[in-house]
């Protein structure tokens, strides 16, 4: 088991390097160090010396990927890519191009992100599972049929519609909670309620429909028939047998996204003015702050790989058939 986890973690390294290279290249296809310097110094008429100085200060004065001037391994290591990447692997994010400490910013801004993501996940899970079980209980009836139709309709509506519609009705018309903003401590609650509710509603369609499929798939299996032949009631069959098996894919599906909850949601945070990591990333992209973008993408990949490893571990915990080796 331990050996397995170590091996999986080692497999993660080439993935991280790859992701890093791709982010780097994509970013510098669109931007050049000159552009960045101009952007930060204020667009108009910047003296070439000032640009050069900015590049030097921020470490953008070297070649991007390959240093033809240097020799030996230095031709690879004495580049922007290498110098900027190697620190990431030590989780030293350094300072942003505008001079702020990225590590500190992340540690501050992850809390608002979590404050939205965690309640949304838990409430959503509870609601989706309940609905799906109910639908499974009424399988092959009109209730089942129309529930699925409703789910598909809800899935097809864009998340933006839920957000804007919710803000309009709840905040503009009814004045129940503020439209957007954030506060520290308990004061945050009134800002969080609406995004959480909207997040849950937005997820009901796809979540319920997927869980319903999982339940129905289990219900048609042979062991369920065996359970019924023992004389178990339908409730016991559903809760004791079907739910236990269907929870395996549900749980592992949740575990894989758990680490990513830190990253927050780009759209929601932006619309509700929540100072989380999602809006942090968007702002950085708008400001062409490569240091932050690169750090966030790297962090996201690390968390994703962590999620995959956690998924494998959680499988061994909930499914007696799975042993890691």
């Amino acid at each position: 088991m331990m050996a397995y986890i170590v091996r999986r973690a080692l497999y993660g390294i080439p993935i991280l390097i790859g992701v890093n290279v791709i982010t780097f290249m994509l970013f510098f296809v669109v931007n050049s160090p000159e552009d960045m310097a101009r952007m930060h110094l204020g667009m108009k008429r910047v003296a070439p010396e000032a640009i050069q100085k900015w590049k030097q200060e921020h470490g953008y004065d070297k070649p991007l990927l390959y240093n033809a001037a240097a020799s030996g391994t230095e031709s690879l290591t004495d580049t922007i890519f290498f110098e900027k990447s190697i620190k990431l692997f030590q989780f030293e994010f350094g300072s942003s191009d505008s001079g702020r400490d990225i590590g500190y910013d992340i540690s501050q801004r992850m809390w608002p992100s979590l404050a939205i993501a965690v309640p949304t996940l838990i409430v959503g899970l509870a609601i989706n599972i309940t609905f799906a079980l109910l639908i499974a209980f009424f399988r092959a009836t009109y209730i089942d049929y129309w529930s699925v139709v409703l789910c598909v309709v809800m899935m097809s509506i864009s998340a933006l519609f839920y957000i804007i519609g919710g803000q309009y009705v709840v905040s503009k018309l009814l004045h129940l909670v503020p439209v957007s903003g954030y506060d520290t401590g308990l004061g945050a609650v009134k800002f969080l309620i609406l995004p959480v509710i909207i997040g849950v509603i937005g997820g009901i369609g796809s979540g319920t429909r997927w869980y319903r499929t999982l339940f129905l798939e289990e219900i048609n299996k042979d062991y369920v028939r065996t359970a019924r032949s023992k004389g178990l009631s339908e409730n016991r069959v559903l809760f004791q047998h079907v739910l236990k098996n269907a929870m395996i894919p549900i749980l592992t599906g949740v575990v894989v996204i758990l680490p990513l909850l830190f990253m927050g949601s780009l759209i929601t945070e932006n619309f509700f003015g929540i100072p989380g990591l999602g809006s942090y990333t968007i702002e950085a992209i708008n400001r062409q702050d490569f240091a932050i973008v690169r750090s966030m993408v790297f962090l996201g990949s690390v968390l994703y790989i962590l999620g995959l490893i956690l998924t494998d571990i959680s499988y061994t915990l909930v499914d007696p058939r799975v042993r890691l080796s």
Binding site: A140, T226, S229, K230, G231, S233, H241, K244, N245, S325
Partner: protein, 668 residues
């Protein structure tokens, strides 16, 4: 009658609604007496399982019972409200199923699953559920029941799982045990264990068993009375003895004639042409008319009535209605002579020498190899031109791996495979690809081995194109038609898709595909084990005819001894990756020398009631090939094991030119 336990009257179960529901059960009557074993026999899709599920009221959502009554003792089951029906289910009636692999909940321990049934049905045991569960596990012959209690289903073998399902069904001390093909998915030696267990439990508890099966051998082995089902109706009922002496319905008779066996070697097996008619129609005549040899004019427009010609015996056929009953030929089940066609000294086409296939087991961070699964561990075989060698053995003994290693589909770890002078293990690339035309394979599951989106024509042509044989397009078209004719399909079949065919027809297409490249050896890997006996007969006939016409050689991988007896010239018996005995069919089947062969043969149910043969019961399951027992692999299960059997693996002793046995009993 007070000794009737279950009485079904005019039961009709339909599936689906709309204009043409499937009449899966169309008016059956049936009585089961206390303590008897009643066999329900019939081919796939005739409604056997639906009958069982109707009794338990466990029909799938699309199914409903539209007419009739089912009484268990004095209780009318169809009138019970669902909550009282639950007391009967698993209480007075227990059920076991065909697929032990999937019929247990994978995430609950076996103890918990049995305990559940005890809690519902056994009021006397509420204090000590666990003791009762252990007692049940012991009753079904599971070793170390205390330890097994906490294990999960995947930790048990197929036979063990079926025992657990039986234990579960016994929890409510049932009066009726419904067993739907309980041993079909199991190996013969395990099947023998499970059938013996059911018999023993029946004697102890006096319960009745409704045994659903398609295997005449199993019926002969355990049943007291038999009912034959065809297309949703019962066409014949009789006590077991009488049924085997004189089956009266033409369908029953055909079933007997289609069982392969040694006495039928020189003849073609009877086949029941066609398939069961679709059940979504009203029948205006006899349902069997299209496939019946004795069909008369009246059969087409008047459904035959049930003719109860004696107490507990009846038949549904116009032939039987007049006084001139029983015109059928008596079914011969006696020992026929073996057709000895082996005259010319055979030249070996394929020679396999000390073939080994070891699969590595990896462990640790760097996936170091810590051991090997010795799937095939030193197998030597020879197949002469135009002959059939059967490889038999239980599942997991390495039969399929031998086949794949010969074809070089798996790279052998060691050993030689000589085919017509070429050493196949040394051929590479182009040379190997050319040789592939000479060696073809047919698989167990015809559907899975064909691309469902390709036309039959393209499926058959594929190999020809790959091998560059068959000429240009027009020539190939003629060749495809000719091949289809050879396997007994119309030329029009070429322009249809695989799913439009029945299981037997699909297997014919696979045979045609194999023949397309004009092979000299065909490896047949359980080609008929997914088919009904009547359909199996068609394929066996076809293979035999092709051998005679084209001089093909077969390596026939199977676990079915009857098929071996019918088709093969020589047999090799495998156990745990090694051949333990080989010889001609006559030598091995008439006079098995290895204790495993003896046990294997004695475990095969024979369609001959009362024929009390000595039964050798093997304990336990085949061990894992990753860790075979020291010495003779068979010693933990061998009834004749001796001290020295644990020390060294016995050498192969030649008893005749064709015969070799690996057992220390024969070493002097």
């Amino acid at each position: 009658m007070s000794d009737t336990l279950l009485r079904i009257k005019n039961l009709k179960t339909w599936l689906g609604r709309g204009a043409a529901p499937v009449r899966a059960i169309d008016g059956i009557d049936l009585e089961i007496k206390k303590g008897e074993t009643f066999a329900l026999l019939g081919e796939s899709g005739c409604g056997k399982s639906m009958t069982a599920l109707s009794i338990m009221r466990l029909l799938p959502p699309i199914g409903r019972i539209v007419d009739g009554s089912i009484h268990l003792g004095e209780t009318s089951l169809l009138d019970l409200p669902e909550n009282r029906m639950r007391n009967e289910r698993g209480g007075r009636m227990g059920m076991i199923f065909q697929e032990p692999m999937t019929s247990l909940n994978p995430v609950l321990t076996v103890g918990a699953q049995i305990a559940e049934a005890v809690r519902i049905h056994d009021a006397s045991q509420q204090q000590d559920v666990e003791t009762r569960v252990v007692e049940l596990l012991k009753a079904v012959g599971i070793p170390d029941p205390e330890q097994r209690f906490g294990e999960y289903p995947h930790q048990l073998s197929g036979g063990m799982k079926q025992r657990v399902v039986i234990a579960m069904a016994l929890a409510g001390r049932p009066q009726l045990l419904i067993a739907d093909e309980p041993t079909t998915a199991l190996d013969v030696t395990i099947q023998a264990q499970v059938l013996a267990l059911m018999k023993q439990l029946q004697q102890e508890s006096g319960m009745a068993i409704l045994l659903i099966t398609h295997d005449l051998g199993v019926v002969a082995e355990v049943a007291d009375r038999v009912a034959v089902m065809y297309a949703g109706q019962i066409v014949e009922t009789a006590p077991c003895k009488a049924f085997f002496q004189t089956p009266r319905h033409p369908y029953s008779q055909k079933l007997f004639h289609s069982i392969p066996g040694r006495d039928k070697r020189s003849e073609r097996l009877a086949v029941i042409e066609g398939t069961v008619p679709p059940l979504d129609q009203e029948f205006s005549g006899c349902r069997f008319a299209d496939r019946c040899d004795a069909v008369m004019l009246i059969c087409r427009h008047q459904p035959p009535q049930w003719d109860q010609y004696a107490e507990g015996q009846g038949v549904r056929c116009h032939l039987q209605e007049g006084a001139e009953a029983a015109v059928e030929q008596p079914v011969s089940l006696g020992e026929g002579s073996v057709a000895v066609a082996e005259n010319s000294p055979p030249t070996p086409l394929l020679g396999v020498n000390d073939l080994k296939v070891h699969f590595p087991i990896h462990k640790g961070i760097f996936r170091r190899v810590v051991g090997h699964v010795r799937a095939v561990d030193g197998v030597s075989l020879e197949i002469p031109v135009g002959q059939t060698l059967a490889v038999v053995g239980e599942s997991g003994c390495g039969k399929t791996t031998v086949g794949k290693a010969i074809l070089q589909l798996i790279k052998p770890t060691a050993g030689q495979v000589r085919f017509d002078g070429d050493e196949l293990t040394r051929l590479r690339g182009e040379a190997l690809r050319r040789r592939r035309a000479d060696l073809q394979i047919i698989f167990q599951d015809p559907m899975a081995s064909m691309n469902p989106r390709m036309l039959v024509r393209n499926i058959i042509e594929e190999g020809m194109l790959a091998q560059g044989v068959g000429g240009h397009a027009a020539e190939r078209q003629i060749r495809v038609a000719q091949l289809l004719g050879q396997v007994g399909l119309p030329a029009s079949a070429a322009d249809r898709y695989p799913h439009e065919f029945s299981g037997g027809q699909r297997q014919r297409i696979c045979v045609a595909r194999a023949l397309a490249v004009e092979p000299r050896l065909i490896i047949c890997d359980e080609p008929t084990s997914a088919l009904d006996v009547s359909v199996q007969a068609q394929i066996l006939n076809l293979l035999q005819a092709l051998q005679q016409q084209l001089g093909l050689s077969y390596l026939f991988i199977t676990h079915d001894i009857a098929v071996v007896a019918y088709l093969a010239h020589e047999v090799a018996v495998m156990y745990l990756g090694r051949v333990v005995e080989r010889g001609t069919v006559a030598e091995v089947l008439d006079d098995p020398q290895h204790p495993y062969t003896q046990a294997l043969l004695s475990a095969v149910p024979v369609a001959e009631p009362g024929g009390k043969r000595k039964r050798i019961h093997l304990e336990g399951d085949m061990p894992s090939p990753s860790n075979p027992p020291a010495g003779c692999h068979f010693h933990p299960r061998c009834p004749q094991a001796m001290e020295r059997c644990q020390k060294s693996y016995p050498k192969a002793i030649s008893l005749s030119e064709t015969r070799a046995v690996s057992c220390l009993l024969l070493e002097q």
